[in-house]
Structure formats: structure tokens, C-alpha cells
């Protein structure tokens, strides 16, 4: 089973390298190969997650390794949807490396299958953590699109329509991520009340989810206000990514609290 995981990791690395070279040197063929390698990595990772779920006899989202793996998978899924459905080929050069980095973080975590601790045995588990996976992935993709916007806008005679599409896509990803993060926070509150008796305990993980939520609420308002969009919002989407990553990994490792399940 580990072979599948490390296979996906290596394939994602290869796809990242090929895609970057393909993009920098404008080699269409390399980009095409990178895409195929990426799809293979995505498929392998999907199979790995399914097998892990069957072996553990539960949804494989119970610890930092499983969550990070699902997070990387979520980024891959969204990248695949954006390319296949919206023909956003330009996103691969940043999104594939992003998925690789998140999966590398997963690779550093303890990988053994552990029993669920009693507090995690709840029907809220899937909704709370599943929505977090989609929310974080969407925010990362929004940051990737933001980065592509910044790079593309630097070019002389940049294609205005393409920039406009990128800006809109970044906004849509944030809108989706915001809805998912709201669901994460609300289901978390309902779950906390079932498990610990209080909807909200100001645990650091809760607080950082709230901070992330507020940051993206500010993004949404700034974008609506006087129709600010374009380069400033692209920078915002990019700079907000470390906040998401801190909420995801930093809080668990740097600040102790109820969510430190390991």
C-alpha cells in the first residue's frame, strides 16, 4: 500500500518538474506528458485512499497523514476539474507543485493506521473533515490561480479576457472554499456540543478556522467593494494561502489544544 502512496508522490514530483520545464520553455509536448503523469498520480492516490479506507474500516481522514493526503487529493481533483471542464491549462504549472508539496508534508507524518479515538467516532466526522478538505483545497487552488494571474499580468500585451477569467476563477474557488469552510465550522460546532457539551471552546484550531473565515470574508467584500478585482485580489488570494496552511498544520504542531490528535 505504501508503494501506491510513494508512487503518487514520485509521479507528482515528475509531473511538477515536466510541467515547469514545459511552461518555462514553452514545450507543448512536455506539458502534455506532464498532464498524463499527473493524471496517473491522481489515479494512484485515489486508489491508495480507497484501499486505506477499506483497511482501516473507516473514512481515512482521522489523523494528520490521512488528512494531508486527502488535502493533496482535493487539490488534484480541483485541478483536474478546472482543466477538463474549463480548459484552464495554464493552472497546472503552479497547482501540480502545490499538490506535490502538500503530499510531501503527508509523507513526513506517521503513517500507521490507528483506531479512532472515542471523540472522533461520530457521524459529524465525515462532514466536518470532508468539507475542510474541499475548503482548504479550493483556497490553495485560488492562490495558485492568483499566482498565475500575477505572472500573466506582468507580460506585455497580456490577454485581458484571459486575466479576467483568471480573476473570476480565483473568486469562484474562494466562494466555494468559503461555503465549505462555513460548513466545517458549523458542523464542528454541532459536533463539539455533542462531544464536549459546548458549541465553541476557543480552542486554537477553532480560532484559526475563524480567522481564516474572516480573512476570506474580507476578500469577498473587498472584491465587491468598488469592484476591486485584478492584481490586488490576486495578491490577496496568494497571501491568504499561508493562513490556510497555518490553520491546517501550524496550529496542530505549534499550539496545543483539543484538536491535537496527532
Amino acid at each position: 500500500m505504501n508503494a501506491l502512496f510513494f508512487g503518487s508522490l514520485i509521479l507528482l514530483f515528475a509531473a511538477s518538474a515536466l510541467q515547469m520545464i514545459g511552461s518555462v520553455f514553452k514545450k507543448e509536448k512536455l506539458s502534455k506528458i506532464a498532464w498524463i503523469v499527473f493524471l496517473t498520480a491522481f489515479a494512484a492516490l485515489s486508489v491508495f485512499i480507497v484501499i486505506r479506507g477499506f483497511s482501516a474500516k473507516r473514512v481515512p481522514l482521522a489523523n494528520q497523514f490521512e488528512f494531508a493526503t486527502a488535502f493533496a487529493w482535493g487539490i488534484c481533483l480541483m485541478l483536474a476539474v478546472l482543466r477538463l471542464r474549463y480548459k484552464a491549462d495554464w493552472i497546472s504549472a503552479v497547482a501540480i507543485p502545490a499538490a506535490f508539496i502538500v503530499l510531501s508534508y503527508a509523507a513526513l507524518q506517521p503513517k500507521e493506521i490507528t483506531d479512532l479515538m472515542p471523540a472522533l467516532k461520530s457521524s459529524w466526522f465525515v462532514f466536518h473533515i470532508g468539507s475542510a478538505v474541499f475548503s482548504y483545497s479550493a483556497f490553495i487552488i485560488a492562490g495558485c490561480v492568483g499566482l498565475r494571474y500575477i505572472l500573466a499580468s506582468k507580460k506585455e500585451n497580456a490577454d485581458e479576457l484571459k486575466l479576467h477569467r483568471m480573476d473570476y476563477m480565483s473568486y469562484r474557488m474562494i466562494a466555494f472554499g468559503f461555503l465549505m469552510l462555513t460548513i466545517t465550522i458549523l458542523t464542528g460546532a454541532l459536533w463539539a456540543e455533542q462531544a464536549w457539551s459546548s458549541f465553541w471552546t476557543w480552542d486554537p484550531k477553532e480560532v484559526w478556522a475563524l480567522i481564516t473565515w474572516i480573512i476570506y470574508a474580507v476578500y469577498l467584500h473587498l472584491r465587491l467593494r468598488s469592484k476591486k478585482s485584478g492584481i490586488k485580489m490576486a495578491w490577496f488570494a496568494l497571501i491568504a494561502v499561508p493562513v490556510v496552511l497555518f490553520t491546517f498544520a501550524g496550529v496542530n504542531t505549534l499550539i496545543p489544544g483539543l484538536h491535537s490528535y496527532g
Binding site: R165, E193, W200, L224
Partner: protein, 403 residues
């Protein structure tokens, strides 16, 4: 909206501080960690940020600001709703298009399942008009969440209690919680601490006897009983050989079992298990996460002024004078949390949550489309015209759209 954004950023900033400085500890804790800076932490209330006046004031201001914004916006949205389609039909063309392009735009709008209405100045294609109320619903739900959330956090009366199986806890209002049985592990030996409890209100109304475990509290008429923690206590039966009298002592902390204050058994502690080496020496295991696999009593026999330290195991008996001390299997007991809240608050909070999710869904996933198409061009209207604008631009540029 600018003031609202500033408030949001301030709330985020205060929250960062609240997450980095451990909250709700004793002053001595801050003195130890922050040294000479600790008086500032206490003075500024940084030890309890989320209950401090700064955070509360910011939240109240945000709620007022949100109320004001929402009232202004909803009036505008409602008034714009009157004759909306006709007004859109009167918009001047924002872009021109050839008849062939206009055909493609119409085709595209139809494929998006827009409805159409003819006016003198052109045809208006529209859909998802209810989506115009999405942000109002979102903001209203946020307000309700803040209000009912604050109530749900401040109103409950919470009590933590331990109770041995077969005994009851009586609350101040006369409510009684009876613990029928308790176990730390299930039949397969997995950690799954659970109790069977029954709640009786002071007026005599009674719940069924129900199993509770983490995530599955008993809920009855505004009361919730949570399976919170568990513990294991020693159990020693003392029999008076002369009178035949007997008593069982449940021991959670050190105790001296003696009638004369001189002779008897001094109970120090109970350990979950032990390892015995080849020389017969015992090493005690000091902690475990489930049931005690091999419980050991750490005791001292006090007899005629002499103290003998020994280990006793369940089933062991020690006789001292007229008294026999029998060491039983330890007693496993639950730590319960009992919470009393007006049920209505929880229901209203739940409704706010559903409304918030629905509001955001409406805002982002039922975005209104309002496009006027005339014989010579088109105009896009509505609160969020971006998507339609880009799609039409793509049609005009590439002949297709894949936004």
C-alpha cells in the same frame, strides 16, 4: 462596508492574540511564562481575550454595522425588484454584436436555461432572481448565529460530577441522575467508556435508562448528560469477625482504614498493572488508557506501631486483629457532565446554521443572470454580472465559452 471590513480585521487580530496566549489560566501561570511582562497581559485582559470587553465590543459593533448594512441593502434590493425585467430591457446596449453573434448569445443563454421575456427594446433573459436575496439571508444568518451563539455559550449551567454505578447524583433543582452501570472497555477490549443512566426531573418525569458515550449524550427536557471521563478506584471490604459487620470502602485517594487510628491498612494508591522480574521484584505500571489489566494495591499494614509496605491484589485478604480486609476488583466509574440549557436556544442556533449555509449557497450558486439582447447588441445587469459578461465576451471572441 469599509467600517465592517475594519471591524472584521480587528476581530481577526484580537483572535490571533487569543490563540497565541494560552487563555483562562491563573495569574501565576502568566508570571511563570511571561516574566516581567505578565502584568500587562493581565491588565489588557489578554489572558481572557474572548470574554474581554474589546472582543465583545467589536462583535457588538460588527452586529450593529451588519444590521444597518442589511437594512439599507435589502430596501434597495426590494425596490430594484419592482419592474426589474422591464428596467433591464431599457438599458442601453453595453456591447454591439452582429446578427450571427446575437444568435450565438441567445443560444448560449437558452442553453443556460434562462427564461426570456419580450419587451419593446429587446428580449430579457433571466434566471435565479431569488439569488438576489442571498447576501441578505447570509448576513441575517450571521447576525442570528452571533446572537444565539452568545446565548448558547452563556446560558447553560454545567456541572461535572463523578458517580459510582448504582448511585445517583442530585442537582440543586432536584433533578436526579442515576448511574445504572458503567464500563471503560467494550467486549472486544476496545476503549469505549459508556454508562447506562436515567434522568428524573424534580416533577417526577423520567427518561428511559439510556446508554451514553462520547458523542452520544442523553438528552431530556433541556438536560444533557455527557459521558465525559472515567476513573478507577480501589475497593476494600472490611469485615468485623466479632460482630459480623462489614463495609465496602471505595478509595479514590490515600486513606487509612482503621478503627483505633493505630492499627489497620494504609491505602496509598491503585496501579493499573505490574511487571515481575525473575527475582520476584515488581515494577508498577503507573498509567493506562483503558481498564486496569492487572490492578495492584499499594498499601502499608500498620500493626502495633510497625509499618510493613506490601502490594495486594484483588482477591487478597489481610487479617489484623478482629478485622479482615478483602481487596476487591477495582470499581470503574464515569465522570459525567450535566448541562442544562433552554432547548429553544439550541433549536434557534441550529436554524441559524442552516440559514447561513443556505444563504451562502444562494449567494454563490444561484447567481442571478439578467441579460438584455436587442437586435444590435446586448447589456448585462444584476448584482453580479461578471460571469455573463465574460461568457459573452468569450463567445464574441472565440465563438465558444468554457468559463
Amino acid at each position: 462596508m469599509r467600517f465592517g471590513i475594519i471591524l472584521l480585521l480587528l476581530i481577526a487580530a484580537v483572535s490571533v492574540v487569543g490563540s497565541l496566549i494560552p487563555q483562562g489560566n491563573e495569574p501565576a501561570y502568566y508570571a511563570k511564562i511571561y516574566g516581567s511582562g505578565h502584568p500587562w497581559i493581565l491588565l489588557l485582559g489578554l489572558d481572557n481575550v474572548f470574554k474581554g470587553w474589546v472582543f465583545i465590543a467589536l462583535t457588538v459593533l460588527l452586529s450593529l454595522n451588519l444590521t444597518l448594512c442589511s437594512v439599507v441593502r435589502i430596501r434597495k434590493t426590494v425596490s430594484e425588484g419592482k419592474d426589474l425585467l422591464e428596467n433591464v430591457s431599457r438599458l442601453p446596449d453595453a456591447g454591439s454584436a452582429t446578427p450571427e453573434e446575437i444568435g450565438k448569445i441567445k443560444q448560449h443563454l437558452k442553453s443556460k436555461r434562462c427564461r426570456e421575456k419580450q419587451f419593446d427594446c429587446g428580449t430579457v433573459y433571466y434566471k435565479n432572481l431569488l439569488g438576489r436575496y442571498g447576501t441578505f439571508v447570509t448576513h441575517l444568518a450571521i447576525l442570528l448565529t452571533v446572537v444565539f451563539g452568545a446565548l448558547a455559550l452563556s446560558l447553560p449551567i454545567v456541572t461535572d460530577q463523578t458517580c459510582y454505578p448504582g448511585n445517583s447524583i442530585t442537582m440543586k433543582d432536584g433533578t436526579e441522575i442515576y448511574v445504572d452501570s458503567f464500563s471503560i472497555e467494550d467486549e472486544e477490549g476496545n476503549l469505549n467508556y459508556n454508562s447506562f443512566v436515567q434522568l428524573t426531573l424534580s416533577d417526577g418525569r423520567q427518561s428511559e435508562i439510556q446508554q451514553i458515550r462520547v458523542n452520544y449524550p442523553l438528552s431530556f427536557r433541556g438536560y444533557k448528560v455527557y459521558q465525559q471521563t472515567y476513573g478507577t478506584a480501589g475497593s476494600v471490604e472490611v469485615v468485623n469477625a466479632r460482630t459480623g459487620g462489614q463495609d465496602v470502602f471505595i478509595l479514590e485517594e490515600s486513606a487509612f482504614l482503621s478503627t483505633d487510628g493505630m492499627n489497620g491498612i494504609f491505602y496509598r494508591d491503585l496501579y493499573p498493572g505490574f511487571v515481575k522480574d525473575g527475582n520476584g521484584n515488581y515494577t508498577l505500571i503507573t498509567s493506562t488508557s483503558g481498564s486496569y489489566p492487572d490492578p495492584v494495591y499499594d498499601i502499608a499494614i500498620m500493626s502495633e506501631g510497625e509499618q510493613t509496605d506490601v502490594l495486594a491484589f484483588p482477591g487478597d485478604e489481610i487479617t489484623l486483629g478482629d478485622f479482615k480486609y478483602v481487596f476487591n476488583d477495582p470499581v470503574e466509574y464515569p465522570g459525567l457532565r450535566i448541562k442544562h440549557t433552554p432547548n429553544l436556544v439550541n433549536v434557534l442556533l441550529l436554524i441559524s446554521f442552516v440559514l447561513l449555509t443556505a444563504g451562502l449557497y444562494m449567494t454563490f450558486f444561484t447567481v442571478p443572470s439578467l441579460v438584455k439582447v436587442s437586435g444590435t447588441g446586448y447589456a448585462v445587469a444584476g448584482p453580479k454580472p461578471e460571469a455573463d459578461r465574460i461568457e459573452i465576451e468569450m463567445i464574441l471572441k472565440n465563438g465558444e465559452t468554457n468559463l
